[in-house]
Amino acid sequence: MKQNLVLIGNGMAGVRTLEEVLKLEPEKYNITVFGEEPYGNYNRIMLSPVLASEKTIDEIMLNDEQWYSDNNITLHKGIKVTGINRARREVIGEDGTTAPYDRLIIATGSTPFMLPIPGADKYGVIGFRDISDVDTMLEASGKYNKAVVIGGGLLGLEAANGLMKQGMDVTVVHLMDRLMERQLDKPAAKMLQKSLESRGMKFLMEHATEEILGDERITGLRFKDGTEIKADLLVMAVGIKPNFTLGQESGLHCERGIVVNDTMQTFDPRIYAVGECVQHRGIVYGLVAPLFEQAKVAANHLVEHGIGRYEGTVTSTKLKVTGIELFSAGDFSGDEHTEEMVFQDIAGGNYKKLVVRDNKIIGAVLYGDTIDGTWYFQMMKDGTDISEFRNTVLFGQHHLGDSGHGDETRVAAMADSAEICGCNGICKGDIVNAITEKKLFTLDDVRAHTKASASCGSCTGLVESLLAHTLGGDYEDAPSKKPMCGCTDYTHDEVRSGMIQHELKTMPAVRDFFEWKTPDGCPACRNALNYYLLCAYPEEYEDDSQSRFINERAHGNIQKDGSYSVVPRMFGGLCTPSDLRAIADVADKYNVPEMKVTGGQRIDMFGIQKEDLPAMWKDLSEAGFVSGHAYGKAMRTCKTCVGDTWCRMGTQDSTGLGVKLEELTWGSWMPHKYKLAVSGCPRNCAEATIKDFGVVCVESGYELHVGGNGGIKVRVTDFLTKVETEDEVLEYCGAFSQLYREDAHYLERTAPWVERVGLKKIKKAIIDDEKNRKALHARFLISQKPAQIDPWKAHADGKNANEFAPIVIT
């Protein structure tokens, strides 16, 4: 027997909750929706662009009536709910319609706060909240000329801009001495005001309205100082008040909104409330981002999964006025315990301010160049320690996007034909169209529909910016914690620490303990869990080859035609004539169509058919080669330069040390690929400073560098420390490798890992704490014992033969 779920309020928060419920358990409820407005669900925050004629109503519809019927939802539109009978569990509409409920969601949103001044009831005095307000404004703009907006906040300015676009003469009246005082500090507010003035908007700052003049229709305003101004239309945008009357009249506990707990339940546990009508932990939200998180939690609880909790949202805002880029988040004014970092170029139209406490960003105001808003905001939410890059943080995440984009990373200024995702050839126009036409909200949505950012991920920042730019900044899909994948609500860190704490030693045990939503997991979590288990229990865990990407299962790199490549390991890049002869013989024997010298100083053979792999490996194995792991999330190579054996500049035996390092680390499974290099002098011919672990030899010893990357985003290593002997290099390398293996998320390379956890933490674990370093190194050696059994030889000897042998029928 299906239960009845009723939603009061056909807006973004409520409908989003229904969508989440339908996603989790489509058959659980009979759903009924009451909406006061005569429309389906539309994107309320996009009303400003509608007013400015940049978008149409159709473009901002999120759920049309078809959606309701497709999902068997009964929609009572245009019907106001007048009562909730909690004893009979029934909702009553103004026209007498009733609907019984087992569970009820109240999402009545908010209404504009109308100033209680004389004359506020005249024609032509409105708020700015729904489609009918926009209609009134559009109609007035055709007949009248003078418009006044009371309120110089986000909404007021957007309304004023829209009216101006419709050809009206607009004056903004504001009580305070600066615009958007809840989001902007003085310099940014001044810049904004100047820019709006230059477009023709007029301002009356520090003006309090005393009376609205006119007979039936407004003709003007009188201020407290006695001055007057003419007006044919007055929009009040001084704030919103949560709509909780219905909740209050039904006896639910209300303060400034309907009070809810962390599962979005009200005083009556059968009744949930989400959105702007809600007060959670003392806070009433008036922005969109929190609604989505609330919707997720409420839905999760409604389908009785019962693991999600809403813990509040840090919000950010962005003004939706075309041509003005403005971003604000968190505490932008600070206090005596905070520091400010400011970049100010008034003439160039750029202003950036970060408010920092204990080396963590707690607030940001950006004007002009706002591309880094998402980055600062992410660091705010993550509580990232910025001490390592304080001196450059204001200049932004300059490696955002692909290297070489440079100033073109300003997505707003990019042409529609500009390529955003180089892997899949997706242009800005494609992404923007998909976002608007297919109503995409999240990065994952964009990835699924356009493939942009779905391959190498280097354009993720750009796609996120586009998403924010297209939808308005408060749209950021920014859950406070990011689950491992769609199969679970737990994060990588939670799963990993839980796995060790509760001694979960198999994949089913982990999935069972953390209540996985899918029976076998998905490719993302299977690979990750297999690695985490292998890392945690190197001597016990039996590797699950079905939970490895084909490259690691077949120990070769799959190529576009389904053939494989074979790369034998050449320690430190050293080789002998007989090594080369052996490789040449193998290549001849198996008709290898193409060979290439790799960047990692070894030889790649392409175009091998899968069924030939074991035999080829057998021949290579007999010639003394082991797998080069050129296909794995594993230790790849150790690149070396010639060193002091031959080079007149060399300071140490870099080649010999490279061989030792590779002998130490080969075979090790890692969260992602992992590359080493040793350069014999600071000229750094082995490019050690863009490797995961790089050594630069100097006369007095060895400099150790970590966290470099030469790939997607070029990142120069951080200097870890300097040591004096080769033995120390080996110990530090083992310790660093193991720390990375135990701490990084699966598929996180050392570069983003170092940036996420901070170099400080790594130095603390490896440099400052000798005991810990030795323990890490010892654990690395233990894990290397089973890892250094050559997979090629094992397969040549018959392991997993079915994997390689096709069944032939004729």
């Binding site: 998905c522 079905q546 939970s547 079915n802 994997e803 096709p806 069944i807 029928i809």
Partner: protein
């Protein structure tokens, strides 16, 4: 009409894994799910003909190794936002033996 062809013992196909069956004119991928159901699809992803047999099996779908399209094993349809379809073939298991039925033109 068409005939059932004997393929291999069930145990010869790894759980959550696959085998490739080579016929005269194409490759067919045979999959085994965690609850021992057997599916057969043409070993070519509708996207860029990637060998689906080399993908990761989860639930009753497989993820293509080349560009991660997710294909429903029962219908051959691409799942999620992708659009495309590959051929599917009937299978059955009797006395631990897996059979495949090829359409006859």
């Amino acid at each position: 009409m068409s005939d059932w062809i004997e393929i291999t013992q069930l145990d010869e196909i790894p759980v959550l894994g696959s085998r490739v069956v080579k016929t005269d004119d194409m490759d067919i991928a045979i999959f085994r799910t965690s609850d021992d159901r057997i599916f057969a699809v043409k070993d070519a992803c509708p996207h860029k003909q990637g060998p689906l047999s080399q993908g990761i099996v989860h639930g009753t779908s497989v993820t293509c190794p080349l560009h991660s399209w997710k294909i429903d094993l029962a219908s051959g349809e691409a799942l999620g936002a992708d659009e495309g379809c590959t051929n599917v073939y009937d299978t059955k298991v009797e006395n631990n033996m897996v059979y495949l039925r090829m359409p006859v033109d």
